[in-house]
């Protein structure tokens, strides 16, 4: 485990206020999801999950076909599709377009994909102003942080934190009431919307048969981003494509329920190309950036490619007892929680943070709530195996490897196993039937020390089961 990962986990666990904030917020989202997916509220929930999984599997298994169909249809409606292999190509495309159109101000609606490629930082580095307009994203942009949660980016900030950030960055009078803080943001951002030259959004879905981009949100900032400026650019991962507009009837029922416990989010925008003849408003230019940035690396493995089915609802984060303790910023990349734990190693390589797939009790809560039925625990186990293979190649972690070889040998030799058990039992401190609080210093190492740092140890029984059985 990297020292950084270890330290971030420790610091988050030690921060009582943060612990309460994470646990309360995720608990509320989790309870709302449970309520609206219950049998009496959504009787065909499991059927919808099965269909969503089948559709995603089909779309990913035939990804090239649907990308080309999507591209043809976007172009038929007067839009343009731009394929980008990485972060640099995305920012180069936006910068070049901005230069050609004389654009200076960009408004952005929430997009994990643009977070992934640090788009704001790249654009601002070249002198453009790029403003996040989702309230949570705006707060963390002003705080110079990364999103804490896929759907609730500022989950870790209290109203007082937000008040401090607004006072410092916007030079406004200090307010601590959430309604008033929201109004301040609305005022500042409304002006940006009306002046902006370009609007950049993400995409929740790309619809192959319509050439449409679908955006789901609650605030109206994505609608403004895609309606007010003359140019709309949607930045989407290539995995976002689904076959038909009609499939939205399945995905939309699952997405908002899983994310926030709503039946539908307040605004679902289905956008196909620039403003058409006769339409009064809407952008004059429409671009869809299709981003690879490592996604194609996930395709060859038939099992692990299911990681690309994700619709970014965040339900697995809210259900995860690990996320609920260590929060979003302990994770090594922008994607946190169980889904982050399976996609980060595949995008960045398993050695980026080899401990990440192991930071799970494998409780399975993530797989149980995933609306597209990604078997996250299964992928975690596969990644654990990949990590060990990579360590073996690099000659790392040899002692652990040896320990498991010994384990396998002992477990296939019952007499040795019994003898080893008896030896361990005779060495264990006598607890007089009581649980053991500490062991002598020479024994307090490795796993023993780690266990005892948190919990007591069971006393060793006088006889093993097999010994008792023989004497029965």
């Amino acid at each position: 485990m990297s020292a950084e990962f270890d330290l971030k986990i420790h610091d988050t666990l030690a921060d009582a206020n943060l612990q309460l904030a994470i646990y309360t917020a995720t608990g509320r989202l989790k309870d709302k999801r449970i309520e609206v997916t219950a049998d009496d509220r959504l009787p065909d929930y499991q059927e919808l999950r099965t269909q969503a999984n089948a559709l995603k599997k089909h779309a990913i298994d035939n990804l090239d076909h649907y990308l080309e169909e999507f591209e043809r249809n976007v172009e038929a409606h007067g839009g343009k599709v731009v394929y980008c292999k990485d972060a640099t190509e995305v920012s180069d495309f936006v910068l070049d377009l901005a230069r050609r159109r004389g654009a200076r101000l960009i408004v952005k609606s929430k997009s994990m994909t643009t977070e992934e490629v640090d788009l704001n930082e790249r654009l601002e580095h070249h002198g453009l102003e790029s403003v996040e307009t989702d309230l949570g994203e705006y707060i963390i942009q002003l705080a110079h942080e990364k999103p804490y949660h896929i759907v609730a980016p500022a989950l870790h900030k209290t109203r007082y934190d937000v008040a401090d950030i607004f006072t410092k960055e916007l030079h406004v009078a200090r307010e601590t009431v959430p309604e008033k803080l929201t109004l301040i943001a609305r005022g500042v951002l409304r002006e940006k919307f009306l002046k902006a030259d370009i609007g950049i959004s993400g995409a929740n879905f790309l619809i192959a048969d319509s050439g449409a981009v679908v955006l789901v949100e609650n605030e109206g900032n994505a609608r403004l981003t895609t309606s007010a400026p003359k140019i709309h650019i949607a930045v989407a991962g290539i995995e976002k494509v689904i076959p038909r507009a009609q499939d939205l009837a399945v995905f939309l029922k699952l997405l908002a329920r899983s994310a926030t416990g709503q039946l539908l989010s307040v605004y679902t925008s289905f956008l196909a190309g620039p403003r058409r003849t006769g339409e009064v408003d809407g952008p004059e230019e429409f671009y869809v950036v299709l981003l690879d940035n490592g996604r194609t690396k996930l395709l060859p493995d038939r099992s692990k490619r299911q990681s690309l089915y994700c619709i970014r609802c965040g339900a697995c984060l809210n259900a995860c007892p690990v996320y609920r303790k260590i929060g979003g910023h302990s994770f090594p990349w922008v994607y946190s929680g169980p889904i982050g734990a399976i996609i980060t190693p595949q995008f960045m390589g398993v050695s980026h943070e080899p401990a990440l797939p192991f930071a799970s009790s494998l409780c399975g809560a993530c797989g149980e709530v995933c609306p597209v039925k990604i078997d996250i625990p299964k992928v975690l186990l596969e990644l654990r195996s990949d990590v060990k293979k990579s360590e073996a190649r690099e000659g790392q972690n040899r002692i652990e490897k040896l320990a498991f070889r010994v384990f396998a040998w002992v477990m296939t030799h019952p007499r040795i196993y019994e003898l080893a058990g008896r030896m361990a039992g005779s060495m264990a401190p006598a607890g007089d039937g009581k649980w053991i609080h500490s062991v002598p210093a020479p024994m307090s190492v490795g796993p023993m020390k780690a266990w005892l740092s948190q919990r007591d140890l069971p006393p060793s029984p006088s006889r093993s089961f097999r010994e008792m059985w023989r004497q029965r």
Binding site: A21, T24, A25, D44, A54, N62, L63, D64, H65, L67, E68, H77, Y83, L135, G136, A152, R159, P178, L181, T182, F193, L194, D209, S210, G211, A212, E219, G220, R223, L224, S227, A228, P243, A245, Q246, L248, A249, V250, L263, L264, V266, Y267, T268, S269, F270, L271, A272, P274, R275, R276, G278, E279, V280, D281, G282, L290, D292, T296, L299, P300
Partner: protein, 211 residues
């Protein structure tokens, strides 16, 4: 260029060749429940109200005009170019700007007035949703920039839900560049999970059902 490179990588990883057809497309899943109109209306109203939207039901187009006239009294409003609003006489009410066909003027007016009046193309009763399809008759900004949105919907446009919408419109892109589903007032819970309405879009939504 990256296009061909990415598509090539995708095909290689999936073991597919260029132009290869797809097999076993999962069938479309749309379920159309039979729900009587009165039940649709009742559900539509309860869903909108559960989201802190307001609803009203009026018997005739004249009554719709009177309801809107009372609702906008003392305030400024902009109406979309929907023929239905014209037929109801709503577009011609005093204090209502309508007939705008130029984007700069529309933006300026919508950013200034108190209320935006539209006639939704459809409504979805099981979620309390308004369906707004951009066209010469309905712009995007009227239901977006003003702090309040008032939609006048004849009852026959009330569908059961998403499945019926996508049965009627298998491909919305065939007729519009923008279809927006509106389910309640604009909201956020980004600060301490406390619900605040009217962030960027209208904080008030009123649905007037005619008939």
């Amino acid at each position: 260029m990256s296009r061909d490179n990415i598509l090539h990588k995708v095909r290689t990883a999936l073991g597919r060749s260029a132009g290869q057809a797809v097999a076993d497309v999962p069938p479309v899943r749309l379920r159309l429940p039979e729900v009587a109109m009165e039940d649709r209306i009742a559900l539509m109203r309860s869903r909108v109200e559960a989201l802190a939207g307001k609803t009203a039901r009026v018997p005739t187009m004249d009554a719709a005009r009177e309801f809107v006239a009372a609702a906008i009294a003392g305030k400024t409003a902009v109406a979309s170019n929907a023929p239905y609003l014209e037929e109801c006489g709503i577009a011609g009410l005093p204090g209502v700007r309508s007939g705008i066909r130029e984007v700069a003027e529309l933006t300026e007016v919508c950013a200034r007035v108190d209320i935006g009046i539209t006639s939704a193309d459809y409504a979805l009763s099981d979620t309390g949703t308004l369906v707004m399809i951009a066209s010469p008759a309905e712009s995007r900004l009227v239901s977006l920039l003003p702090p309040a949105h008032l939609a006048v919907v004849p009852r026959e446009r009330i569908l059961t839900g998403l499945d019926e919408l996508f049965t009627l419109l298998p491909d919305p892109a065939a007729q519009t560049s923008s279809m927006v589903l509106i389910t309640g007032p604009s909201r956020t819970a980004d600060i301490e999970q406390i619900l605040v309405r009217g962030v960027h879009g209208p904080g008030q939504v009123t649905v007037v059902i005619v008939g």
